[in-house]
């Protein structure tokens, strides 16, 4: 019978109208953004940060430049620190990331052999100036390891276990026995956190 489809459709919309008042949890899809936010998944990634242990001087990064070389859009710029004699120290003097160029791929996190750089959950990074404001200096990038533990607890547990194992091997003097496996990048993100992670990657020569 012609016409009943119209009534059926109108009952659906009326039901949605009523439901949005009596049971907004199911009848509403809007997230009132500035007041409330959607929960971000653990593997969500947006813009890297640099990890330090304890105090900001105790930075994990050794200025090895691997992330800068691997970065597809080349948005990382590193200058290592030098002492009075001009010898290169294992510490960055300059560590800049240009957010205008960064594409949030997370490759820097994957390739870093020192667990020093990780992707953050912060996505509200709008600025007024696209050159200076979007250029993140070392001081802006530094965040404590506790921040990493807070936003990505599973990844943090896995990384800490791997670091502890590596430290143990280092104590026995068996660091170089591992075959050169830069596969930390590809293998680890898929590995479940319960599994024993693959061994520490070899040091860059």
């Amino acid at each position: 019978m012609f016409g009943f489809g119209v009534l059926k459709g109108m009952s659906v919309t009326l039901w949605n109208f009523v439901l949005s008042y009596v049971y907004p949890k199911k009848g509403m899809v809007t997230v009132q953004y500035p007041e409330e936010r959607k929960k971000v998944e653990e593997r969500f990634r947006n813009f890297p940060f640099l990890v330090y242990d304890g105090t900001p001087d105790n930075i994990r990064c050794v200025a090895c430049d691997i992330c800068a070389k691997e970065c597809p859009p080349k948005c990382i710029y590193i200058i290592p620190e030098k002492d009075e004699q001009g010898r290169i120290q294992k510490k960055p003097a300059t560590f800049d990331i240009d957010y205008a160029i960064c594409m949030n791929c997370g490759i820097c996190e994957d390739v870093c052999p020192f667990d020093a750089i990780y992707m953050d959950h912060d996505y509200e990074l709008s600025e007024y100036d696209r050159l200076e404001d979007l250029m993140y200096r070392k001081e802006d990038l530094l965040k404590p390891a506790e921040h990493f533990a807070k936003i990505r607890p599973n990844d943090f547990a896995r990384v800490e276990a791997a670091r502890a194992a590596k430290a143990g091997r280092k104590g026995r003097g068996a660091v170089t026995s591992q075959a050169s496996s830069p596969a930390k990048s590809s293998a680890q993100p898929q590995a479940p956190s319960s599994q024993v992670p693959p061994g520490a990657p070899s040091q860059p020569s």
């Binding site: 949605n16 109208f17 949005s20 009848g27 809007t30 009132q32």
Partner: protein
Amino acid sequence: MEIADKIFVLIKSGILGFLSSFLPAWLVVLARVLLSITAIAIFGPVTMMYLTWLERKVVARIQNRYGPNRVGKFGLLQPIADGIKMLTKEDIVPEAADKPTHFLAPVTVVIPALLIFSVIPFGRGMVAVDLNVGILFFLAVSTLTTITIFMGSWGSRNKFSLLGGMRAVAQMISYEIPMVLSVVPVILATGSLSTVAMVEAQTGGKWFFFTPWGFFGAVVFFLCGVAEVNRTPFDLPEGESEIIAGFHTEYSGMKFALFYMAEFMNAFAVSGITVTLFLGGWHGPFLPSWLWFLIKCYALIFIMIWFRGTLPRFRVDQLMGFAWKFLVPFTLFNIFVGALWVMFPAPKNLYISLGAEIVSLVIVCLASRKDAPKKRNYVYAS
């Protein structure tokens, strides 16, 4: 209760009494007219502003959203923000446009919308002009919108505008006929063309909506009214997926807003006339009469918005076919049924007219079955 019912009448007579203490008699007569005009000129645009708010809210709720809720509590100041935005926007007139026509169309489109308000009885004794041809006045004036819309579309010198204007003229003239025909039984039953007399005839819960001819007449009249004010599902003149915005493609800023104002005021006026003709006007228990009128009016406007939130747009041939092949014959039968109702005495006329109504409905449905859209089989959907 008595006071609340007559509050607007009392205010008016109070102001007039105050004025007559120091003004000459002819100025008091002028003031009496001006007071009604002022009240309508304030009520119309304010209603329009809050109808936009209501429409956005209801459609949003239907689509599981919140709607405007940032400007003021519940977004209640949103219409004012919209108004400021519309007033400060650049006014663009196409170079090839017929400039006087292009300018006059949005100005004149508001006039019929405001004129209709003058014959709507908002409450007991609350009608601006008690014309003895009130309903005829409404039918005549509401048709004027067609001319102004066509002025706008022609004056823009834009193909999409012209297409929209053509569609508007065709649609409004087609739907005018069943609209007029569905009013005729009410005139038969009332014996008068005055809107006030029509409300008086429905005293004591004897709404025309509860008679067989009144029920179908109200449905047909309301549908035709929705088509008259170009609202979904009859919004072919401004079908944005086909012809950008139809007749108001080339309008911006306040001129565009005036078209919208006319549309919303017409929507309110059509609801008001439907309430007056079929739903007992301002009659109702306990509450003041004007409040009853507004409640009924807003219920009908809610149905209009509900239509908009639900139904897709008609195809042109479906639209025309619905008016000419279904509504016109059905309303002609409806006049006959109304005449039967008036002719026979009280208990018998219900059965006779109900039977005649059902028979005529079956006849019209069977006759137009050939033209009804076929049920579609979606091959890939199942």
